[in-house]
């Protein structure tokens, strides 16, 4: 027997999934609190002990792979020229690599913005600007400002190639850690995020892990190969595309509702479905991820109040649940914010949690999907489409604590579907829902690096 152990160092829990690669089954899963403050291995050992106790005949662990989102995950800043073009392309590269992007700057960096960068908690900066052969004045200016600022943060340069040599000299002199890769937008509206993503992952593996106190784990368990959100995205891509002769599920979506953020991943072109629709804006990545830092059911719960007024909140209750609740909404949100381990105890609190999850679904979907806009032309109505058309998505997979532990998870997920009062949003119309009951998506993303066929098989078996 040979067991491949998959580890996910999360911000709250360290989660283990043991896969028997010969019998092709998931032996078991376990979790323990993440312990980055003392020694991250304490939590890992605790979880492993639990796993071995529950499955004494588990067999020998031959391989371990790990991903991490501990200590706040990977935080990046994206810089570009035009907000809707290179700045957006840079942001998408960061998101696709599994990062959280709290700072996006466009045009010339000002003193104030440099100061913001200095004070911000940023792990990597991605600097873009200009198409190849296009504007190089702006990226040169920004590179110079960054070199002068001596931030001590790794900088990835992925802008106009004509500026690369000058930037190379600039950073060489300033002794900043930097990497020059292919442009994220080599031609107008053409997206090229893979080279930047590769470097992000490389820096993450070699440097970031250390700062987050997870490096220690490497001695025992080997390399931490990627940020957790990227592992989820890879699992989704595998399940969508299939592997060799094994067919995948086609275009699909993963929605991960967490305590602090809601992540949405879609795999698919999302191109217009009708001839009178004209695509606008920057090209969309085939595997697209968006992260909503203000949508979450615990840490971000009180941020939801700035989006949803108390009277609107009631709309998100299931029919009948509305009467069951007389909770003070603000107080209930604050309680969840202050206590991220909070578990609902009675029906009323459960109903409240479900309503929060519905809000996260609804709002994250509005921000993720593309939209259409009618243009009245002398030749009749035409439509602009910005973003992805996801109306024909076949499967929506739900993951994250609040969905996994909920008997009504599929009910909650219905919130992502087409809505009559949001007609212009290109939401899924008629999808099947699957729930990641065992919480194995990130683990399967990791397993898929070495055993794609097995990971695909297990995903198909366990997503229900």
């Amino acid at each position: 027997m040979s067991v491949h152990l998959l580890v996910d160092f999360g911000s709250t829990y360290t989660k283990l999934t043991a896969v028997d690669t010969e019998k092709e089954v998931i032996v078991g899963t376990s979790r323990a609190m993440t312990t980055v403050r003392t020694d991250v291995l304490e939590g890992f050992d605790m979880a492993l002990e639990k796993l071995q106790k529950a499955h004494p005949d588990m067999g020998e662990i031959t391989t371990i792979s790990a991903c991490s989102s501990a200590a706040g995950g990977l935080k990046m800043a994206a810089i570009g020229l035009v907000e809707e073009l290179t700045a957006e392309a840079a942001k998408r590269a960061c998101l696709g690599a599994g990062a959280l992007v709290n700072h996006v700057f466009s045009h010339h960096l000002s003193k104030k913005e440099i100061k913001t960068l200095k004070q911000a908690d940023v792990d990597i900066i991605l600097l873009a600007g200009g198409t190849d052969g296009g504007n190089k004045e702006c990226i040169l200016h920004n590179a110079k400002k960054l070199a002068e600022a001596k931030l001590g943060i790794p900088i990835i340069v992925a802008g106009n190639k004509d500026a690369a040599d000058e930037i190379d000299e600039l950073f060489e002199k300033s002794e900043e850690e930097y990497y020059i890769v292919d442009n994220v937008m080599p031609k107008l509206k053409k997206l090229n995020v893979a080279p930047a993503k590769d470097v992000i992952r490389r820096i993450f593996i070699t440097k970031i892990i250390e700062g987050k106190g997870i490096k220690k784990a490497e001695e025992k368990i080997g390399e931490i190969i990627m940020p957790t959100p990227e592992a989820v995205l890879q699992a989704a891509e595998l399940l969508s595309k299939g592997h060799e002769e094994v067919e995948g599920y086609g275009d699909m979506m993963v929605i991960d509702i967490g305590g602090a953020t809601t992540d949405v991943h879609t795999i698919g072109e999302g191109s217009p479905k009708r001839t009178e629709v004209i695509l606008k804006g920057l090209q969309e990545p085939f595997a697209k991820r968006t992260v909503e830092g203000d949508l979450g059911v615990r840490y971000s719960a009180n941020a939801l109040l700035s989006l949803v007024k108390p009277y609107e909140f009631k709309k998100y209750y299931e029919n009948g649940d509305e009467e069951a609740t007389d909770e003070d909404i603000e107080e209930a949100m604050q309680r969840r914010h202050d206590n991220v381990d909070y578990l609902p105890e009675n029906d009323q609190e459960k109903a409240f949690d479900k309503a929060l999850a519905r809000i996260c679904c609804d709002y994250s979907m509005s921000r993720h999907v593309g939209t259409v806009e009618v243009v009245y032309t002398p030749l009749g109505n035409m439509y602009y489409q910005t973003g992805k058309d996801l109306t024909e998505i076949q499967y929506v997979v739900g993951t994250g604590g609040v969905l996994i532990n909920n008997a009504d998870a599929k009910q909650i997920l219905k919130e992502v579907l087409h809505k009559s009062h949001k007609k212009l949003e290109l939401r899924p119309k008629d999808s099947e829902f699957l729930i990641d009951e065992l919480y194995i998506l990130s683990a399967m993303g990791l397993l898929g690096q070495k055993h794609p066929r097995l990971a695909l098989k297990l995903l198909k078996r366990h997503l229900k």
Partner: protein
């Protein structure tokens, strides 16, 4: 090699002519960024910023060009593109009007060159080369 941005402005969907313009400009050695039909002023301007274009060629065939081009020069200046030459051509106004009048109005709006219906694109190419000093 100079970069020029071309496109069809406003709610206009005439897709063929702009392809011909793209083809001819390429043949003359320009780096052409064709942003296509249904393009807003903002689309032209953003494209010109990122690609460091030296000229913007606005095409309009459906008669509402005058409305669509209003304040384009001002918006270019606002976006730091005062140096970018502006060209416009096609059926750019409503109905049949005296072209001298039309040309004057568009020049007042800040366009460097204005072309009446039926202009040969080669003619404009010579102007662009002259204006950008590539003749």
């Amino acid at each position: 090699m100079h970069t020029v941005v071309i496109g069809v402005i406003g709610a206009d969907v005439h897709a063929v002519g702009i392809r011909i313009i793209e083809h001819v400009l390429r043949k003359h050695g320009f780096n052409v960024v064709n942003i296509g039909v249904l393009s807003s002023q903002e689309d032209f301007i953003n494209a010109a910023i990122e690609t460091n274009a030296k000229a913007i060629l606005v095409s309009s065939l459906y008669g509402h060009g005058e409305m669509d081009c209003k304040y384009m020069k001002e918006n270019c200046e606002e976006a730091g593109l005062s140096h970018v030459k502006l060209y416009v051509g096609g059926n750019i106004v409503v109905g049949k009007q005296d072209f001298k009048d039309v040309e004057q109005r568009f020049k007042k709006m800040g366009f460097d060159r204005v072309y009446p219906p039926g202009t040969d694109i080669e003619e404009a190419v010579e102007h662009i080369k002259e204006d950008l000093n590539t003749a």
